[in-house]
């Protein structure tokens, strides 16, 4: 067991033969195009070009797979060893990971990508996908929701015949102006149970529900039409589906980020995801309002009517018992009502544009009123 001829460089390694789990300490001598691996009880020669080196991962020893199924583990100076073997460790991922400036760039880039994906990317993609889903696909979902609501929240409408005919006519005029032939828009009138109160909803599939209470509290069919225009906005923009898609996308993104940490990590990821989702529903309200301004103008009405309608609702709510809360809602969550109610009734309305930001399901009602009037003056 004499050493290979002088002039060869050598390094030490741990040698596993791949046959049993026993470990050998080995000295490896590198020749021109062969290497010799020597342990106490065995010596093997290999051609250099038959060696397969593992791609580097920070702090993990270099692993050299030898053609006979055995492996060498090199814990010291693995970079140098790899270079000596003529296979410098060129992994793009490894180099980027080891490059500190790039790590900072990655951090900033990721932050930017996440921000724009959230603000623009996800809504854009969700809208694209939603508009490609046939309306009929939502119909069954809508039917189920309406059936459930009829049991829980609604009773038959008790509106006088002529009043309901008026509202229905107004709705039909809006539908004609909206020019959305693919969408089967139709109106359902209901008397709400007391815990629902004045409300209007856009149900997936094209149904708009408005409650008798809303029609009573909002003085004049023109203003009711403004509220209906807002709901038609939810329908045309496919907000129910869009929000489902956005919610799932956010959940997926957070799931992917938190994928590393099981269990509790997923709670940490879910909470901000929920908050971010609420902001999307606020955007949907704004969008439906803007749609309503345009639609009202098309029918020759003023966008200010939507502001007036909202004001009527705030006023009547202040008079009513708190239990009578409820306003405009395109699906079955209306968490922001309580907060809006108290704000609208305190006598000191919130400053324009004041929102509790990401926590509000709906935009502050004052700003919605103001926006509607501003739209009328344009």
């Amino acid at each position: 067991m004499n050493y290979p001829e002088s002039g060869l460089q050598d390094f030490s390694a741990t040698w596993f033969d791949g046959v049993s789990a026993q470990r050998r300490d080995a000295a490896v001598a590198i020749g021109r195009d062969s290497v010799q691996v020597r342990a106490v009880d065995r010596v093997s020669d290999y051609r250099v070009d038959t060696l397969r080196l593992s791609t580097p991962v920070a702090g993990v020893p270099l692993r050299i797979a030898l053609p006979d199924g055995s492996t060498l583990i090199v814990r010291d100076q693995d970079e140098k060893v790899a270079a000596l073997l003529g296979q410098p460790r060129r992994s793009v991922a490894y180099r980027l990971e080891q490059n500190l400036p790039f790590v900072f760039v990655a951090l900033i880039l990721l932050g930017a990508i996440m921000f724009f994906a959230y603000r623009d990317g996800v809504p854009w993609l969700a809208a694209k996908v939603a508009t490609r889903v046939p309306h009929a696909a939502e119909a069954q979902l809508g039917e189920t929701i309406l059936k459930a609501l009829d049991h829980f929240a609604f009773e038959k409408s008790t509106l006088p015949e002529e009043k309901s005919a008026e509202v229905t006519d107004a709705f039909d005029r809006l539908v004609a102006a909206a020019d959305a032939p693919a969408l089967e828009l139709h109106l359902e009138l209901r008397h709400a149970k007391s815990f629902v109160g004045a409300n209007a909803l856009a149900i997936p599939g094209g149904t708009v529900v408005v409650t008798d209470q809303l029609i009573d509290e909002v003085s004049g069919v023109d203003k009711v039409a403004a509220v209906l225009a807002h709901e038609i906005g939810h329908q045309v923009r496919r907000h129910a589906l869009v929000q489902l898609l956005q919610g799932s996308a956010i959940a997926l993104i957070f799931g992917a980020v938190a994928g590393d940490i099981s269990g509790v990590g997923s709670i940490a990821a879910a909470a901000p995801g929920l908050v971010l989702r609420l902001n999307y529903s606020r955007n949907a309200e704004d969008e439906a309002d803007r749609f309503a301004y345009d639609l009202l103008q098309k029918t020759g009405a003023s966008p200010a009517l939507l502001g007036d309608a909202l004001e009527d609702l705030v006023r009547s709510r202040c008079k009513a018992t708190p239990a009578d809360a409820g306003r405009d809602n395109h699906d079955d969550e209306d968490n922001a009502n309580a907060e809006e109610r108290s704000r609208g009734c305190t006598g000191k309305p919130a400053k324009p544009g004041t929102r509790i930001g990401y926590l509000s399901t709906h935009p502050a009602i004052e700003s919605r009123i103001a926006n509607a009037r501003a739209a009328a003056n344009r």
């Binding site: 046959v19 789990a21 020597r38 991922a93 790590v103 990508i113 489902l244």
Partner: protein
């Protein structure tokens, strides 16, 4: 090139460094010892299937190993937050800019980091998963998910049926996933293996098929609750109760299956886990859960009475305060129950596992410490906007790995030479088609 008859040479040669005249080698051997004595062991939190977690090691590395009575060998974890952060963030960026196509490579790199930094007996673990195989598996899973999403959201009632369809594929997917992960993991140059069939997996997880039935009943007819509330509540509650009763059974069988169908080379793992021990763990978990729910209810009721009885107080403020406290209690409840069940079940799995006649395992994860770790991680992650995720992952892995040790049943020389490579398929062959990779 012809392998000579093998003999354990490791430690002897350390003691005879002159023989090879290689000073680096001596240094190297010392380093091995350091790693062992400094750290204790751990493994990536749930990234490692139980099979491999259960499966490990030996060694002739420490000088004491030569002694007749073998000492238990602690596992150690050498991963650190900073280097792992670099891997995490760079691969995350690459995954995002490639719209997810890089994610299998990211997965493999991260896994190689955790495995490669898990040591026992002077040798680390290695992960060999082929990212291309994982990508194929993921593309299939993504397609199935998209179909499921649309059906579930747009056709109420059809979701559970589809879930049932997907579930029929589950045993096969689980078996493939366990086999893929095991076959792509190695220690001391010997691969792990898993030979449980889809049929065996089905025999273990069948009680979980009650879940879609429960979903079916509660989702299919949303009006049932209105039309016949009592019957609906009784049926649903009954089904959940049944589910709760069979869940520990399924957990016990799955864990036993993963251990007893796993092998390291040709040496099989055995499990003597008793199902009733798992029931005992979940029994206490249920008590903890109920206590937590009672606490939440107390907060709710208290909030209600404060709002009713104190006239000058704003009902909304009370409502928000009540919701915040109840939410906090809920988070604590989840953390405690999760930490408790994971630590106890994990310990039980290892303590009842054996590498046939060669070694036994000991896991000492404390529920209290794990809960504290989870809580700290939760806050750290939330307040760092997710940037401390790598730090949290490393901390949990270190704790879990370093709570683990292996007790060789014979002199290490004989143990490690008794473990020989399996003659059957290697990871490469198995993993070539689809790399399903579930965290179980």
């Amino acid at each position: 090139m012809i392998p000579e008859p093998s003999s354990e040479s490791g430690n002897e040669s350390v003691e005879n460094p002159g023989r090879m005249e290689s000073p680096e080698r001596v240094g190297n051997a010392k380093q091995v010892e350091n790693v062992e004595s400094m750290e204790n062991p751990g493994r990536e939190e749930s990234g490692l299937p139980t099979a491999e977690r259960a499966g490990p090691d030996f060694a002739n590395a420490t000088p004491s190993a030569v002694a007749v009575v073998p000492e238990p060998l602690p596992f150690s974890f050498t991963g650190q937050a900073t280097p792992y952060f670099r891997i995490w963030i760079v691969n995350f960026l690459l995954s995002v800019v490639t719209l997810g196509l890089w994610s299998p490579w990211a997965k493999v790199r991260k896994r190689r980091y955790f495995y490669g930094h898990t040591w026992v007996g002077g040798a680390n673990f290695e992960y060999h998963g082929n990212p291309v195989a994982i990508l194929r598996g993921r593309l299939i899973a993504a397609a199935a998910f998209v179909v499921y999403w649309f059906v579930d959201h747009l056709l109420p009632g059809a979701g559970p049926a589809l879930l049932l369809v997907l579930l029929t594929a589950a045993p096969w997917i689980v078996a493939r996933s366990l086999a893929f992960n095991a076959a792509n993991s190695s220690h001391r140059g010997i691969r792990f293996g898993f030979d449980g069939s889809a049929r065996a997996v089905l025999a273990a997880i069948w009680p979980l098929f009650l879940w879609p039935v429960v979903l079916w009943l509660s989702e299919r007819d949303p009006l049932a609750i209105v039309e016949n509330a009592t019957a609906f509540i009784v049926t649903t509650a009954g089904l959940y109760l049944v589910l709760l009763c069979v869940y520990p059974y399924a957990v016990a069988r799955v864990r036993r299956l993963t251990v007893s169908h796993s092998s390291w080379g040709q040496t099989r793992f055995l499990s003597s886990m008793r199902t009733k021990k798992v029931y005992a763990i979940y029994g206490i978990a249920i008590v903890l859960g109920v206590a937590g729910l009672v606490a939440m209810a107390v907060v709710g009721v208290a909030g209600y009475f404060v709002a009713r009885l104190v006239p000058d107080i704003d009902a909304d403020t009370i409502g928000i305060a009540t919701a915040v406290w109840a939410g906090l209690l809920y988070v604590i409840l989840v953390i405690v129950v999760m930490a408790y069940t994971r630590s106890r079940v994990g310990n039980l799995v290892f303590d009842t596992a054996e590498l046939a006649d060669l070694a036994r395992f000991k896991s000492r994860v404390s529920a209290r410490r794990l809960a504290r770790l989870y809580a700290q991680n939760l806050f750290a992650i939330m307040f760092s906007a997710g940037l401390l995720i790598p730090w949290a992952a490393i901390r949990v892995a270190r704790y879990r790995v370093e709570s683990l040790s292996v007790q060789p049943q014979a002199a290490l020389d004989s143990v490690s030479s008794a473990v020989t490579a399996g003659a059957s398929a290697t990871g490469e062959e198995l993993g070539e088609v689809f790399g399903f990779d579930l965290a179980l």
